[in-house]
């Protein structure tokens, strides 16, 4: 991924782990509630309570759609679209 390519950015500090982004992303691909086909993965570490968000290969930031679907359902405003390569406070692959 280019350092300047548009990508989904995540501020994990405010993520509640509701997984709406996974459902929305799966819906984008299959028109079903289908998180297995999502290209975003959210996981909470139970011991520390910390959230980890990964954007998987295959995410095209919903090209052709005004607002990426994961961003559209993200109530705590964790997700946004932008051009930074590194995800703030989280990891990306």
């Amino acid at each position: 991924m280019s350092a300047f390519a548009e990508t989904i950015l995540a501020d994990v500090r405010v993520c509640t782990g509701c997984l709406a982004c996974e459902l929305a992303c799966g819906f984008r691909w299959s028109k079903k509630m289908d998180p297995a086909h999502s290209t975003i993965r959210v996981r909470r570490d139970d011991e520390s309570g910390l959230i980890d968000i990964k954007i998987l290969q295959g995410c095209d930031t919903c090209r052709g759609i005004e607002t990426p679907m994961c961003v559209a359902v993200c109530n705590p405003r964790v997700l946004s679209i932008g051009r930074r390569h590194r995800i703030q406070g989280g990891t990306s692959t």
């Binding site: 509701c18 289908d34 996981r43 139970d46 309570g49």
Partner: protein, 648 residues
Amino acid sequence: MKHIHADKGRCGWMGKLLRVDLDAMRCNTEPLDPYLEFIGGRGISDRIVFEEMDPRTAPLDPASVVAIGAGPLVGTLAPAASRTNISSKNIATGGIATSSVGGHFGAEMKFAGFDEIVVRGRAPHPVYLAIREGEAELRDARGLWGKTTWDTETAIRRELGDERVRVACIGPAGENLCAQACVIVDRGRAAGWGAGAILGAKNLKAVAVRGTQPIRLADPQGFWSYNQTLLQHVERSRASGVLKRNGTHGAYGVGGPEGKTPQGVRNQQDEYWPADKGQNLKEIVYREKWEIGRTACTACPTSCTHLYHLPGGRYGPLTVEGMHTNTVRALGSNLDITDAEAVLKGQALINQLGLNIDAVGSAMAWAYEAYERGLLTAVETDGLELTWGNAEAMLELLQRIATRRGIGDLLAHGVAEAARRLGRGSEAFAMHAKGQGLNEQTVRSHKGWALGIFTSTRGGGHLNGAALVERLGMNPQKAKEIFGNEAVARPEAYEGKGAVTAWFEGFKSIVDSVGLCYYTTFWIDLELIGLEQIATLMEKVTGIETSAEALAGVGRRIQNVEKAFNTLHAGFTREHDMPRPRFFESAISAGPYAGARLDRARYEGMLDDYYAAHAWDRATGWQTAACLDQLGLPEVKARLAAAGRLID
């Protein structure tokens, strides 16, 4: 409801019910279709428990049935459509037990391929049920027996080699058959009302689910568009904002927004806790000292749960979620405890041991009062000083109850049975509803709230018929427009409360059956999701044409199934819908509601109105033939008639 989609039961629903026979150690899959008129979740679970349990079967008997269901909206993006319902016979009351729990278990259960799991029998040794990709297996859980719920979840994920496995499990309290044992989901979310002990008696330590099967939608684009509007509506609502910011703790608990929500104090002898005590347990104390984030159930825009971390101190390191208003009352005001850190530790223990906060809280408060009155002595408590405000005693007592050590063994029977066993006049201050331990607020001041608690089919709890509308500050005209009676908005009024309670009972039955959370609905904010919106969601997800009116009818049917279960299994009559004497006899001592208490004659009048709204018999509280005919429940009618408990 009318089916308009050709592939009935295949959108929204996964279409499968899993039967688990622990006597035979066998799992079978059945189609869900025969049950769809009861929607899912609570509705289908109730019907199964009603039909398949003999009234003579005790809750802990192997023949006892537990039904775990996730409704058709669960696993979709519908706001907070996360709820799993567990129905069974209630250990504390002998009647029905239903409990709705959030987290992510329900959605994963659907992705694993099932809407409903029905368990009966008793395994020859501890096992857990693993459901992955439509396949179920019973796995050895001897190595898990004795573990806390948190360690159980970790161990199962490790054994199955998948960190996304979701686990519903019991802790030591369930293994030791405590009446207060519940099922814990995702470490901090509880399905209460005794189902934990029933799973313990069945040697079923946990249910683990994981899958990648998609949930089909009847009208994908229509659902997405409608749901986006609904999500934004919930997000912008006052109730969602308050819950997000303050949790139920700050919104309705000790030191709530106006600092004047009456809380049970010292075993509910009073409902006024002075500010110099209450301020120690205010939500902001926890937020400023220990909060590290918020957590949400599947697809919930509200995230009412706050996540706390104690880095050190007396109990750290410790990460805890699930602190709600009931925690602060049960482990705080109702025991006169002001130690915020100990209350947080208590919440962690409750989750780890697998205990129901209301049931265990009421048993402990009863024990503290018995100790104060000299009816329980330090000899009988093995030196534990159950004096009001003693937080360390509370933490020790939780451990003793879950492991049934010493005085804990007595309390593990539940407050009503413990009082019966101890005697010495202690039954008079055993605080329960139908035998189920009570941990309440605003019972004396808010009359409809009280009615909803004491008529609740599961025995207490304010998340059924208790109408929050009394606290929403409605103007009388709006109350009349919506509920047909301006008095419903006034806490002190008895008028109109019977009909409103009956209506909310049916509404909650639907909310629990489709799988939504009460906190995103009309119950908590009159601008939020009501039956019309649920009907639209159901149509777009399932393809089944329905309406608010049709759903209200299903809600009434579900209520009547539960009511009949109570009549047949527990023999409840009108007297079981009455509050404990304390709520009539002692008034709130101070504060905005000083002097408030329930008036017996006026409560009786409110109860008459409630039975009339249900078309039940006023003298006995039993169901009438006309009511069951109108609802189309001939099998319920036949069973009641055969037992001589139907009013013609």
